[in-house]
C-alpha cells in the first residue's frame, strides 16, 4: 500500500512494512500517521514544534543502534522504520513508569481525572500503582516558587516535564516567559528572566495551562470545578473584544466553572488571552444587573419590566427628536457586542434616528 501526502519533493521510506511517500522534512511520526500507523506520544503536541523530551515515541531505524524518537526525527529517503517490537514496548513502558515514579498517584481527587494524557498512556501500557514498588524515588522537596503569573499555580510534583508549556509560551504566545531548569530529578518549570533585574514577561494568557497534559498548571480561581464527565461544554464566542475568539464555557450544575477551547474551532484555533480564558467570574456575580432599572419621581432607581423601560426610552427619543432634532441624539455602543450587533446599532442611529453621532468604546 502506498499513501501519498501532497507536496513537491518527497522521500520514500518504509514504516512497519508499509511504503510511505512523505514530503521532505516530515518527521517519522508525521509519515507514520499518514499511513495510519499509530506511535504513542506524550510530549508531542500538534500545535507545537517537536519537543522530544518524554521519549515515549521511540522507534527503531534500520542501521542505527539506538532507537530514535519519531516525533523529532526527520524521515529520510530509504529509511526502514519499525514502530512495534518487544524492545520498543519495554522501553516505552519503562519510560512511562519513570514518569509515574515521580508523579503522585492519587487520581481520584484530581480534576483532570478522566481527561489526563498521562492517565491514558499509563492505562495503555498497563501500568497500575502497584507496579512501582521497586522504582519509586524519594520525594523531592521543591522550594516553593511563584509561577510566572499570580493567576496560575504550578505543581512541580505533578509536572511530567514534557516541556509543552515552555514551547507554547515561546512559539504561540511569543514570549518565552518560562523555562525548564534542572538539575536532574529536581528539574521544574520556572520563570525565564531576560536578565536578573527584569520582571517576568508572563501576560497570564494561560496557554501553558491549556497544553499541559496533566494537572500541573491550574488556575488559581478556586476549586470545585467538577469532573470532566459531569461538565457540560457550551460553544460560544468570547464577548470581550472584536477578535471574537471561540471558546467553550464549562458548566457544572448550571454554573460556569471554567473556559476551555477546541483547537480546531474559530479564528483563534484554541488560543485565548487572559480575559477570554479567566474573565468569567462576573457571570455569576451578585452585582450584575438582572432587571432593567428606571428612576421614579423621587429620582431613585427602581426595578421595572423591559416593556415599560423600552417604551419609556422610545417615547423620550421621539420627544427629543421633535423638540431638538436628530443631531441632539448620539449613540455609543460597546466593544462587547458582536460586529453584527454594532452594525445594526449604527444603522439604527443613522437611519431610524437620523444622526451621524455614533461611536463605540473600542476597548475594554
Amino acid at each position: 500500500m502506498t499513501t501519498i501526502i501532497e507536496t513537491k519533493k518527497k522521500v520514500q521510506l518504509e514504516i512497519d512494512g508499509k511504503t510511505v511517500l512523505a514530503p521532505e522534512g516530515a518527521t517519522i511520526l508525521e509519515a507514520a500517521r499518514a499511513v495510519g500507523v499509530r506511535i504513542p506520544t506524550l510530549c508531542y503536541h500538534e500545535a507545537l514544534s517537536p519537543i522530544g523530551s518524554c521519549r515515549v515515541c521511540v522507534v527503531e531505524v534500520e542501521g542505527v543502534d539506538r532507537p530514535a524518537t519519531a516525533c523529532n526525527t526527520q524521515a529520510l529517503d530509504g529509511m526502514r522504520v519499525v514502530t512495534r517490537s518487544e524492545r520498543l514496548f519495554n522501553l516505552r513502558r519503562e519510560v512511562i513508569r519513570m514518569i509515574l515514579a515521580h508523579h503522585p498517584l492519587n487520581c481520584s481527587p484530581c480534576p483532570k481525572n478522566g481527561d489526563c494524557e498521562l492517565q491514558d498512556i499509563a492505562y495503555e501500557y498497563d501500568l497500575a500503582p502497584n507496579d512501582f514498588g521497586s522504582y519509586s524515588i524519594k520525594t523531592e522537596e521543591y522550594p516553593w516558587k511563584e509561577f510566572s503569573t499570580p493567576i496560575l499555580d504550578y505543581h512541580p510534583r505533578r509536572c511530567v516535564l514534557c516541556g509543552r508549556c515552555v514551547k507554547v509560551c515561546k512559539e504561540i504566545r511569543g514570549l518565552g516567559a518560562i523555562t525548564m531548569a534542572g538539575p536532574g530529578a529536581l528539574a521544574s518549570i520556572q520563570p525565564a528572566l531576560a536578565d536578573p533585574e527584569s520582571p517576568s514577561r508572563c501576560v497570564s494568557c494561560g496557554e501553558c495551562m491549556r497544553v499541559c497534559p496533566v494537572n500541573a498548571i491550574e488556575e488559581r480561581m478556586g476549586g470545585g470545578k467538577g469532573k470532566p464527565w459531569e461538565t457540560e461544554k457550551t460553544a460560544t464566542t468570547c464577548a470581550y473584544c472584536g477578535v471574537g475568539c471561540s471558546l467553550e464555557l464549562n458548566v457544572v450544575n448550571g454554573k460556569v466553572v471554567g473556559v476551555t477551547t477546541d483547537d480546531a474551532a474559530g479564528v483563534n484555533k484554541g488560543r485565548l488571552c487572559s480575559k477570554g480564558r479567566f474573565g468569567y467570574a462576573f457571570i455569576h456575580s451578585g452585582e450584575r444587573l438582572g432587571k432593567p432599572l428606571m428612576r421614579n419621581e423621587k429620582g431613585e432607581l427602581e426595578e421595572t419590566t423591559w416593556t415599560k423601560a423600552l417604551t419609556k426610552v422610545a417615547r423620550e427619543f421621539r420627544r427629543t427628536l421633535a423638540e431638538h432634532g436628530p443631531d441632539s441624539i448620539a449613540g455609543l455602543s460597546s466593544a462587547r457586542c458582536t460586529n453584527e450587533e454594532n452594525y445594526l446599532f449604527q444603522r439604527f442611529i443613522r437611519q431610524a434616528i437620523g444622526s451621524n453621532n455614533v461611536d463605540h468604546c473600542a476597548r475594554l
Binding site: 518524554c54 521519549r55 519503562e94 519510560v95 523555562t179 534542572g182 536532574g184 530529578a185 531576560a194
Partner: protein
C-alpha cells in the same frame, strides 16, 4: 605509569587478572597521580572503566559516578532525569549495605533504558561503565547485597566534559550555552560564556575555534557553528543592554589585596575580570592608548570592529577594574616598583616584535620595508581617526602564509594599492591561515605566489625597489608533518614592488627584565613559568598569554588569563597554589587519549552559513564583512548540537 588491572573501553576488555589481552593499552603513560602524592586508583568514563588498583572501591565508585550523572542531568528527558536518580539511590543503598538482590537486576534493566532512550550523550553514556563493571565484576555487587554492611568508600574527582569543552583552552561549557540559545534564553547563554570568557563578542568573531575542529557533529554532517552562536548571543544582549544603557554594578574590593597587570590584551583583560570578580583591586597598565592588545591593534576592523572590543572592555571597567593607558613597563614603570605597591603582578605583554625573514638587505631597513605587526598597529590606531599615513607606493608584497599575512594583504587591498601579492614558500594546502581568510583574500583580488621564497630585498637609495625570490619544491615531511620546502636551484626571479611586509611571526620585547630578577626566559624567547601555577621564578610575579606561549591565539591567551587569575587569587589569599582541579582532569584525559566512539545517530542538517558583504563592496572600506546569525538561524543551528556531555571520574587515594 598506571598499569591496568581490569578495564574495558568500547567493549574492548583488558584483563590482567590472568585472563584476556586486548588492543587497549595495558598501562597509561604519564598517568599515575592525580596531584603529587595522590595516586589514581581507577577511572570511570563514558565508554568504559579502568582499575589500576586491586582495592579500588568498585561499588562506591559506581555510586559516585551515577550521582554525578544525576547532578549533571539537565532534566530535559525522562530516562536520564528520573532513571539516573533511581539508579543512584539504589547504588547508594547497596553501598550502605541496605541493598537487596533484586536491586541489582533493577539497576541493570533501568541502566539499559537510560542508555537506549535518553536524548543526549550524557544519558547515552552515563551507564556504559556501570553496566560493564556489573558484567565483568558481578561478585563486587553480589557482595554488597550479602548483608555485610557498608562497602568500602573512596575519594573521587568527577566532572562533566565534552570533546569541544576539552579542546577549548578556556574550557567553556559549549553545549550548555548552545542549549540556552536553543531555548531562547540568550541572557543565560551569555552568562554561561561569561563564567570563562569576558570577551564573547571578540571571540564570537575571530576565535580560531579549536572546539569546532573536534565537534562530533562533523561525523554526521558538519560541525556546529560554535563561534557564530557566541557572536549571536553577545550581539543580542549587547544591543538589549545598551538600549537600557545601564552600567554593570561595581564589585567591591573586599579582599584588601591588589594586583597589577601589565598589558591590556586578551590575557590581561581576562585575568583582570576574574581577579576583580574574586574581590581584588585590579590595575591594568598599558603602553598604548587603547585596550585589546593584538585584538585591537593586530586584527583589522573589517574582521573585528573596534566598538566590539570597547563595549566589552567597558563592561570590565564597569565592574571596577582600573585602566592606566600610556604606561609602559620599562619606561614609565619598573617591576620592583610594582612589586612593592601590589600584592601580585601579572606580565601579559604579548609578542609585538616582528621576526625577520632572514633575507639579504633586511637589516638595512629601507623605506617601504614595514613589519606586518607595525603596519597593522599603525593602521588600527590611526586610520579610524584619519591620521594613518600608508607606506608610499603602488605595489605591495606580503611575506608569509598565516592569518597575520592575510590581515596585511587584505588591509593593503582596502588601502587602495594597485597590486597586492602574498609570497609563501609552501602550497595553499599547507598555509596555516584559515581557509576562509585565504578565500576571502583571493576574492578581493590578492595575488598568491605559492612555493616562493624571498631571498633578497632590492633597494635603491634607501628605498625598496623590489624583492628577489626563488621557487621551492616540497620535499620530505618535517616534524610538524608538513612537507619541507626545498629550493629549486637557479630559479631566482625578481618582483618589482615598493612595499615589502614581512609577516612570518612575532617575538616579545623583554627589555624591562633586568638580569638577576629571577625571571627566566626560554630559548624560544618567552617567559618561563611554573606550569602548575603560572608563576615566574620570582615570587608574586606571574606571566601569561603570547609572552609565555609564543604567538598563539586569543583564546589561548584567555585560557592563560583564567588560570593565572586562579593562582594569583590563591597566592594573595595565602593559600597553596595549584591549577584548577578541572584543568588537571582535562590534562589527565588528554594524557589517556582514549579512542572516540563513532556517532551512531541520524544527521542530515547542514550548518547555517553567514551572509558576507560581496567582495566588490567590501574592498573599499574597513567595515565588518560578516553579518551575524538571525534569531531563527541561531536557534536552528543550536538545535543541531548533540550535547556530547559525558562524565569522567577518577578514584584517588586521598
Amino acid at each position: 605509569m598506571a598499569k591496568v588491572i581490569l578495564g574495558s573501553w568500547r567493549d574492548d576488555v583488558t584483563d590482567n587478572r590472568g585472563l584476556k589481552k586486548s588492543a587497549i593499552p595495558e598501562a597509561f603513560k604519564g598517568l599515575k597521580e592525580f596531584e603529587s602524592g595522590n595516586d589514581i586508583l581507577a577511572f570511570m568514563g563514558w565508554d568504559g572503566f579502568f582499575l589500576f588498583d586491586r582495592d579500588a572501591p568498585v561499588v562506591d565508585m559506581a555510586r559516585a559516578y551515577v550521582e554525578k550523572a544525576q547532578e549533571e542531568s539537565c532534566g530535559y528527558c525522562t530516562p536520564c532525569r528520573v532513571g539516573t536518580k533511581v539508579v543512584a539511590e539504589k547504588l547508594a543503598a547497596l553501598a550502605d549495605g541496605h541493598g537487596r538482590r533484586e536491586d541489582i537486576d533493577a539497576i541493570r534493566s533501568m541502566a539499559a533504558v537510560i542508555r537506549d532512550a535518553s536524548m543526549c550523550e550524557l544519558g547515552h553514556t552515563s551507564m556504559t561503565a556501570l553496566l560493564k563493571m556489573m558484567e565483568l565484576m558481578p561478585e563486587a555487587f553480589e557482595e554488597a547485597v550479602a548483608g555485610r554492611g557498608p562497602v568500602k568508600r573512596g575519594n573521587y574527582r568527577a566532572m562533566a566534559t565534552a570533546p569541544c569543552i576539552e579542546a577549548c583552552p578556556a574550557h567553556l561549557d559549549i553545549p550548555e550555552y548552545v542549549d540556552a540559545i536553543r531555548s531562547g534564553n540568550y541572557y543565560e547563554s551569555l552568562a554561561i560564556i561569561g563564567r570563562k570568557n569576558p570577551l564573547a563578542g571578540v571571540c564570537g568573531r575571530v576565535c580560531v575555534r579549536p572546539c569546532e575542529f573536534v565537534c562530533r557533529r562533523e561525523e554526521l554532517d558538519e560541525a556546529i557553528s560554535i563561534k557564530h552562536l557566541k557572536r549571536f548571543v553577545n550581539d543580542q544582549i549587547v544591543s538589549y543592554v545598551s538600549a537600557r544603557s545601564k552600567p554593570l554594578e561595581e564589585i567591591p574590593s573586599a579582599s584588601g589585596k591588589n594586583a597589577a597587570i601589565i598589558g591590556a590584551g586578551p590575557c590581561g583583560l581576562t585575568a583582570a575580570f576574574y581577579l576583580k570578580r574574586k574581590g581584588h583591586e585590579v590595575h591594568i597598565f598599558e603602553d598604548l592608548r587603547e585596550p585589546g592588545g593584538m585584538s585591537a591593534v593586530g586584527i583589522p576592523d573589517y574582521r573585528l570592529p573596534r566598538d566590539v572590543i570597547s563595549s566589552e572592555v567597558r563592561r570590565i571597567s564597569e565592574i571596577g577594574v582600573k585602566f592606566h593607558y600610556g604606561k609602559r613597563l620599562g619606561r614609565d614603570l619598573s617591576l620592583s616598583q610594582l612589586e612593592t605597591e601590589y600584592d601580585s603582578v601579572l606580565i601579559s605583554v604579548g609578542a609585538h616584535g616582528s621576526k625577520s625573514v632572514g633575507m639579504e638587505g633586511e637589516d638595512a631597513n629601507p623605506e617601504g620595508y614595514v613589519a606586518g605587526v607595525t603596519f597593522l598597529r599603525d593602521l588600527n590606531l590611526l586610520h579610524h581617526i584619519g591620521e594613518f599615513k600608508p607606506p608610499v607606493g603602488t605595489r605591495v608584497v606580503v611575506v608569509g602564509g598565516g592569518n597575520v599575512a592575510m590581515d596585511c594583504a587584505r588591509s593593503a587591498i582596502r588601502l587602495g594599492y594597485s597590486k597586492v601579492s602574498v609570497v609563501y614558500r609552501r602550497t595553499q594546502k599547507e598555509m596555516p591561515a584559515d581557509h576562509e581568510e585565504i578565500e576571502g583574500a583571493m576574492e578581493e583580488g590578492v595575488e598568491f605566489l605559492f612555493l616562493t621564497h624571498p631571498v633578497r630585498i632590492d633597494a635603491e637609495a634607501g628605498k625598496v625597489k623590489g624583492i628577489t625570490c626563488v621557487k621551492m619544491d616540497l620535499g620530505e615531511p618535517d616534524a610538524s608533518g608538513r612537507r619541507r620546502p626545498v629550493e629549486v636551484k637557479g630559479s631566482d626571479f625578481f618582483i618589482e614592488c615598493d612595499i615589502v611586509i614581512p609577516a612570518i611571526g612575532q617575538s616579545s620585547d623583554f627589555s624591562f627584565l633586568s638580569s638577576g630578577s629571577g625571571i627566566e626566559t626560554t630559548k624560544w624567547g618567552t617567559i618561563a613559568v611554573d606550569d602548575n601555577t603560572m608563576m615566574t621564578g620570582r615570587d608574586r610575579v606571574f606571566a601569561g598569554g603570547d609572552c609565555v606561549s609564543g604567538p598563539a591565539a586569543l583564546i589561548d591567551a584567555m585560557g592563560h588569563g583564567l588560570r593565572v587569575a586562579h593562582c594569583m587569587d590563591q597566592r594573595m589569599r595565602g593559600e597553596k597554589m595549584s591549577m584548577p582541579e578541572a584543568e588537571r582532569m582535562f590534562r589527565l584525559l588528554k594524557t589517556m587519549s582514549l579512542p572516540q566512539a563513532p556517532v551512531n545517530r541520524l544527521g542530515n542538517k547542514a550548518r547555517c552559513r553567514l551572509e558576507m558583504r560581496p567582495a566588490r563592496e567590501r574592498t573599499s572600506d574597513f567595515v565588518e564583512i560578516e553579518r551575524g546569525l538571525k534569531p531563527d538561524e541561531a536557534i536552528r543551528e543550536a538545535e543541531r548540537c548533540l550535547r556530547c556531555y559525558r562524565i569522567a571520574l577518577f578514584a584517588t587515594e586521598e
